[in-house]
Subunit: 585 residues, 2 copies
């Protein structure tokens, strides 16, 4: 009975399972997953508490907003996400973008700033869900590797420099200009708070030491790899606890004027309604667009990279929907825009998470913190949070890609550098846009000047290769040419010049074979050119022959009537067939 | 002695001859060319007089400016041009662009309007020369066929409608908006001058009759083809002479208030210095950019099309220099920006021009006209010039391309239509820009979703074709894939998804052969993806193999260290070699 009912609704059920992946993995949950998920969830939660407060600081928001943006979104992603280990919440790049947007429109950490963050999370989430339902995940393909690398490198610098004022314990209204902020900070250097500087620098050193050295040290002292790794990851927690304790013990907030987090409200996230006040829509638009794209690219790249390590698959379009749902959840529970966190996903993965149940456990840790521990944050120094951020972005710079780009392709390197300097000196959004436009321009530039070569037969094979690189057989009355690019408007002239040039230069020429194995598209401009050239060649007594035309292109040529005008007998399956027919093989 | 001197300077001499082509053809001039050049020059000159005055009207300039823009530029192009028959001067599209620009910045036909035209010709010429010296002729390749067709069709409509007011004999200040001008004209319809309307319509009918019917009629009456053709082309001259005579005889300018050209100054072009007043530079910039590009594209396309009919060659970069020189010559002799005229070049060609000496003869006709005939133009009705323009643009619409685009590619058709409506309803410059951006977007969109197919061996050959289209041989443990696009940032994800997908779907799979015959570029993003995918496949127990990697790409892969990391033994010359080595051929 139930079976029959299920059968009748199977298409709907399958569809529902596609859009709500928890319906796939939760019914198949195995008991042996539980310990790993629990340990990973604890590790993730403990790590997320200071990180999310620190990123709220970076986003020019009160610390609790970071905790709110972690709690419910973690659970919502567990329901809709296709990655088993991705951990969602406030992250460096997204917080930087949110913070830059807020700095332009409201007083940092004010109620208006929070309203802007809620609105941003709502709009970004809604756009991501729509893009996901339209299966538009592919648009991020246009963000090339060099652009992302240039952006990430520049963002690391921007983020680190943005924390200088918190480390120095000085305060001034932030602006959208990195340079102006830096100048401001330098001018206020004499007013720096020594306690803040010392505590911040020591905290950075402790976190880095825990992360880079402590694990190996403990293993050498006989601890198991698992325990050693867990301890090594707790640097953030340790400095938070130590910093808070010391500040409380010596009342550094009063004796040394050390800035602390102060009052953080007790209790679960409030239910918030983002005010759909679109008066700032124009000013917010570029930042929102970047939050949609960068948030998604970061999230899906991290998800894919961890999935492949376990031979699992991630659905790029469903990831858009899941991230969008998490963003909307954030906007309704007092949170700012979210994305996937690399460092927290890595901890989750390494601690043995088998499913997204670990995220649910982590959410529990955050909930307990909000219910019982927030009064302790009163003495948590801001410099400690700044140190957490700086230590986190020390991993961001990706110099290997810069080096690789320089070696492999100067054009790719230039795109990277243009994006990097654009983000640093013009602005986060403008820099990224400049990068995307440059990478498209480079691609068009390169494809508009294709490699063209005369080819000949490699002895005893049916393979035809460039006469410049291989010892090949050719004939005086036939020239076979290969053009290494699609025939489209930007390459039409090259096609024309090459074919006519070959005919003009060789008076004995009877046939030109155009090897189309590298031609992936023929647009109308190129088709028109091809017909013109064919007529011009015929006038010179030279016959044009096509070979290795791909199926889909042949179909379009047929439909357009080109094949019947040109003649099917002048189109060969392969260059070898053509050369045989023309008496040159 | 002279020989030795020449030898010593041969490289400079060769260079000079390249930049000043008259040094090539004039020393080699043959006596038998002279009669053809002379007749063609006369035909060209007679045709150019009314046309150039009419186009001055279209450009919102006094009629003599058109004559000035023809005289010296014809001679300058004869010196620097590489086409033997191209005829330079004011033409429809360039005059439309100039006129639109002038309408926004000055009173039509005023001295300020002339100053703007001189400045435009100077800047456009200078930019063209610089582009030519930098060998940047290729930039025009980015104007696709559909964009040009959409632009030309829309321009024909804009030009024809712009002459409605002149045909009606009414006058109002022109604006940049086609719609506003039309509404204005309709509102003023009751004030239309009947003499103007009748004379204009009759003139259009006469020109079209001469052009389309008279030639054949005369040949049937026994005239030689050459004479018949010459008479058929004289429609423009006939209506000018008849219109002027009738107006003078009946003093229609007074009895019927018919608007005439009026006073045209006697004498050769003045030497003018374009005032480098850059206060309007911002407003002029888009129009100037279009004049540079459209003027050149039109000119070089016409030059190429006539050259190929005689198996001559045109140097695209030198053409930029020659056109630029003609533009600068125009700016110093009272003229507006110029381009190659299709109709006048066709007359030149058909009348037997062998060299650019015909242009020099035509310039003589213009000079004699300016010296002796301008008083006669006093009674030349403006409606006759308007009729000349309308009759000329009747040839412009190119519906065949619209039809062809619809049949061949909806994307190309859409680009054409977007450009057409953009030019008509948004503006000449904005429309063209929208068209160019659309065609680039379409190209990127299409190339970002490449065709990927599994290929197999066509029986008894070494050719590998799609399993979907051909009966081919495949093996269970090897899958050969061909991706029909360059591997770059926009296709990197497709590459990853396809390769991983094939491996996940076939548990028995041991090898994946990636046929790179259609891969014309591998950028850094794709290279990184390729290495990631290779690692992921290895983890699944599948070995990735590359085949038919093109020489230039192999070189870059080698330089970047990819080949040594990946292994040269996994890169095969052809798919057949790879399949043989893997025991599947």
């Amino acid at each position: 009975m139930l079976e029959a009912l299920l059968d009748a609704h199977r298409p709907h059920w399958a569809r529902l399972r596609q859009y709500v992946p928890i319906l796939q993995w939760l019914p198949a949950y195995k008991r042996q997953y539980l310990l790993g998920d629990f340990i990973a969830g604890m590790a993730l939660g403990v790590m997320a508490v200071p990180q999310s407060m620190a990123y709220a600081l970076l986003a020019n928001l009160p610390p609790q907003v970071g905790l709110y943006a972690t709690l419910v979104p973690l659970v919502v992603y567990a329901i809709f996400g296709t990655s088993r280990v991705l951990s969602i919440g406030p992250v460096a790049l997204v917080s930087l973008l949110t913070g830059t947007m807020i700095a332009q429109l409201a007083t940092p950490q004010s109620p208006e700033a929070v309203q802007l963050a809620l609105l941003a999370a709502f709009i970004v989430g809604a756009v991501q869900i729509v893009l996901g339902l339209l299966r538009m995940g592919f648009v991020v393909n246009f963000l090339s590797h060099p652009v992302l690398s240039g952006f990430t490198n520049a963002a690391a610098i921007v983020i680190a420099l943005s924390q200088v004022k918190n480390l120095l314990g000085i305060k001034f209204p932030g602006s959208a200009s990195l340079i102006a902020d830096l100048r401001h900070a330098i001018a206020l250097l004499p007013e720096a708070n020594m306690a803040s500087v010392v505590m911040g620098v020591v905290a950075i050193i402790i976190i880095v030491f825990f992360h880079r050295r402590l694990g190996r040290l403990l293993m050498r002292l006989g601890l198991s790899e698992f325990v050693a790794a867990q301890v090594a990851r707790s640097g953030g927690l340790v400095v938070v606890v130590l910093g808070t304790l010391i500040t409380w013990l010596f009342r550094l907030d009063q004796t040394a004027q050390l800035r602390t987090v102060g009052h953080v409200p007790v209790g679960l996230p409030p239910i918030t309604l983002p005010a759909l006040d679109l008066s700032n829509a124009g000013a917010m638009a570029p930042a929102l667009a970047m939050l949609v794209v960068i948030g998604y690219v970061e999230s899906v790249s991290i998800a894919k990279s961890f999935a492949s390590r376990r031979r699992e698959k991630v659905d790029a379009d469903q990831e858009l929907i899941a991230l969008g749902a998490a963003d909307i959840a954030a906007s309704f529970t007092g949170g700012s825009p979210v994305s996937g966190s690399f460092s927290r996903s890595a901890v989750n993965f390494a601690s043995g998470a088998a499913t997204q149940l670990s995220s649910v456990f982590a959410a529990l840790v955050i909930a307990l913190t909000l219910l019982f521990l927030t009064p302790l944050f009163y003495f948590l120094p801001e410099t400690i949070l700044a140190a957490t951020i700086v230590a986190a972005v020390l991993h961001l710079p990706d110099l290997e890609t810069v080096r690789q780009a320089w070696r492999y392709s100067k054009a790719d390197w230039l795109t990277l550098v243009v994006t990097l300097f654009g983000v640093l000196f013009i602005g986060v959004e403008a820099g990224l846009l400049i990068g995307v436009v440059s990478s498209l321009a480079v691609h068009l530039w390169v494809t508009s000047r294709p490699h063209v070569t005369i080819i000949g037969r490699v002895e005893d094979t049916e393979t035809y290769k460039s006469v410049k690189r291989y010892k090949v057989k050719t004939c005086p009355h036939v020239t076979a040419l290969r053009i290494d690019e699609s025939l489209y408007f930007a390459t039409a002239k090259v096609l024309e010049d090459t074919l006519i040039g070959v005919a003009v230069d060789n008076p004995k020429l009877k046939y030109v074979v155009l090897d189309c194995s590298a031609v992936n598209r023929i647009d109308l401009s190129a088709l028109t050119t091809l017909e013109t050239v064919d007529n011009e060649l015929r006038a010179m007594g030279v016959t044009l022959v096509l070979s290795a035309v791909k199926g889909p292109i042949h179909d379009s040529l047929l439909k357009a009537g080109f094949v019947s005008r040109f003649g099917q007998d002048r189109i060969y399956l392969s260059t070898h067939e053509a050369m045989k027919a023309l008496g040159c093989a």
